[in-house]
Symmetry: C2
Subunit: 394 residues, 2 copies
């Protein structure tokens, strides 16, 4: 897009293909997931949990579904979680787990990973950033969308994957799609007209009615060099800091440079730093995808994700065992409680009598009981624990 | 009643007065209270629990409220619970705790205690039997009713205390009261026309409309000798067995006689063995009493018994701490959950969000979540544990 077709052609030929895997995956693994307390804790954030009952954590699922398209996988996570991340991902080399000394929001994390990848491979490498704590039911659809996004990225676009909006959610930002991009290999590519913050219900309904809006899941695919050029143009100080750290990363200077530069990096999301201004300049494309996506933003989401017991003593109830924390199997009896959700890590006998739709989250030191329509208020309960200095429960 | 006024007068003079305390209390302490699972267990039956948050167990409360009227207190309990009963009642001498080798229903238990008391004191002693697992809010009203009942018992009546029926319950049997007994010291005494089993709702409503019916709480007051005479008349074999055991009780022969005779005793409730046939013959009186009585027949009862938090993080919720089992204090936060009931022995953080009226019972190895209208179904959950051989949870 920013280049002539001829130079794009040359670049495509030069880019590493790695057995046809078109991207270098970046997985920012941050965020506590306070709305999933008491399952998620500071020491055991959401992405380290199995919230689907699939026998793998959200992070493991993210890596696994990228496997068909990712030549390499780079995780960016807090220093406190490096060990747990490495333990969950034995196939990812230690050098591909980048430790942030402190949270500096998504632009610094993704920018650093892109800059490191650009140096380890080539600035022409296409990177794709995918949050560590989402679930996707149709992995084939996801991979297909990533492949189209990679084709658009090769052509110079900043590409975001636009999740089919299945209902007028007020919990997500939206992508406004315009006309086709007409790039080979990306038949569904559309130019992005703009991004919107989380809308109110009426606005969300209007968005859906037009058919032009997609949910923004924060999935960005772009050539590393293009990303870093945009960063230099939009946030020059941040770009300088990120490049300085990346230059030192694979040298003995990493720690001192990190210590000096990282704390001063601007805290800004990639959406604000790059996606929005570049979209305004016509440089962002989107690939639509209907793939059963969920960001597991609260316990109310689990009933759509965790399989409901079809028979046995907990028939009609979604039972989440262990949540990837090991421990004994669930021991649930439910009568007259269809649609209830039980997440337990204790193995205690849990009896539900006449509580349809109830949410019960059972851990050794904390028990949460709520209803789906109040599940988002869990964050408030966690905030009160913080205020009360109950750090052992956070 | 069975005697002339003159002989009744003579008997009253001869009866032990013990500082004006008119009765020898008998407290049958049996029954598991399966509808209070998982708080109540085989090893920790209902009467050993503090279900009122008063800092004393139901058994301790029963003994304490009888203190103003009981010259002596005799507990009849299962052999497995003698140690726990003694530990909870340091003021009761060991010889006053009678151990049943196996459950033989209330007639054998109360008959044995009455026979032992008759031998230790005199057959003219008035005994009063009161279940170990009930709560009474107005202890003054209770004591007043017992005093009237004792006066009637002195006069030869079998006396039952008739609990004011505050609603058309289908969970209790009813006492049908007739005309006055006209006995000095018992101004409210009425002749009992009969007892009824638990009625259906329509019948219960009819009962209440007449004003002639009271709940039968199984509180019987009667001279020991009168009780044993009735038993001999109604159930001669059972009477012989009870007398044989009682004769051996305070001798070295207790154990061999118990072992030989007890297992063969008829299993029958005192209501069927004595109260019903004697009432039919005109020998039962009742004293009405409005005293805030409850038999704590399930968790739905707790909201009327456990004080509701007036402020703090669990405002509007009835929180039962420890249930007399020691352990840490409750740590409950409740939002939008007024009328909920939390009984916990774990000290875990318990967060309720938007679950008004919910019942949560939290113990180390079992968790129950239900609603008041389903609380009686807890028995079924316990039955299923039995069927499944989950004895560790019973």
């Amino acid at each position: 897009m920013t280049d002539s077709p001829a130079s794009a052609e040359a670049r495509r030929a030069a880019a590493p293909t790695c057995q046809g895997k078109p991207i270098h995956a970046i997985i920012p693994a941050g965020g506590a997931g306070t709305r999933l307390w008491p399952l998620s804790r500071r020491e055991r954030p959401k992405f380290l949990l199995d919230l689907t009952g699939a026998g793998r954590t959200l992070l493991q699922g993210t890596v696994a579904r990228l496997e068909p398209v990712a030549a390499t996988t780079t995780i960016v996570t807090g220093a406190a979680h490096v060990e747990a991340v490495a333990a969950q991902l034995p196939g990812v080399p230690a050098e591909s787990i980048l430790a942030e000394p402190s949270p500096r929001d998504s632009m610094a994390a993704i920018g650093l990973a892109a800059a490191v990848i650009a140096r380890r491979h080539t600035p022409d490498a296409v990177v794709g950033s995918f949050a560590a704590d989402q679930v996707i039911a149709d992995e084939g659809a996801f991979v297909g969308a990533v492949r189209q996004a990679a084709a658009l990225a090769e052509d110079g676009w900043v590409v975001t994957i636009g999740i089919e909006a299945t209902h007028p959610s007020t919990a997500f930002g939206y992508i406004h799609a315009g006309g086709p991009t007409s790039v080979p290999g990306a038949p569904e590519g559309r130019v992005v007209l703009g991004f919107t913050e989380k809308p109110d219900a009426a606005t969300a309904a209007e968005y859906l009615a037009t058919g032009e809006y997609r949910w923004n899941a924060g999935m960005f695919v772009v050539r590393a060099g293009v990303l870093l050029d945009h960063l230099a143009a939009q946030r020059p100080e941040l770009a300088v800091g990120v490049e300085e750290i990346a230059a030192a990363w694979d040298t003995p200077e990493r720690e001192p440079v990190l210590e000096r530069v990282w704390p001063g990096l601007e805290r800004i999301a990639i959406d604000h730093a790059i996606a929005e201004p570049v979209a305004a300049a016509g440089g962002v494309a989107t690939v639509p995808a209907a793939m059963g996506w969920d960001d597991v933003g609260g316990f109310d989401a689990l009933s759509a994700i965790v399989p409901v017991e079809a028979e046995g003593s907990a028939e009609g109830v979604a039972v989440l065992d262990g949540a990837g924390q090991g421990g004994p199997a669930a021991d649930v009896e439910a009568v007259g409680s269809s649609g209830a959700i039980v997440a337990t890590t204790t193995g205690r006998r849990i009896v539900l009598l006449g509580v349809p739709g109830l949410i019960v989250v059972d851990t050794p030191d904390a028990l949460l009981v709520t209803m789906p329509e109040r599940a988002q208020d869990v964050k408030g309960a966690v905030d009160r624990l913080k205020q009360d200095g109950r750090t052992g429960l956070l």
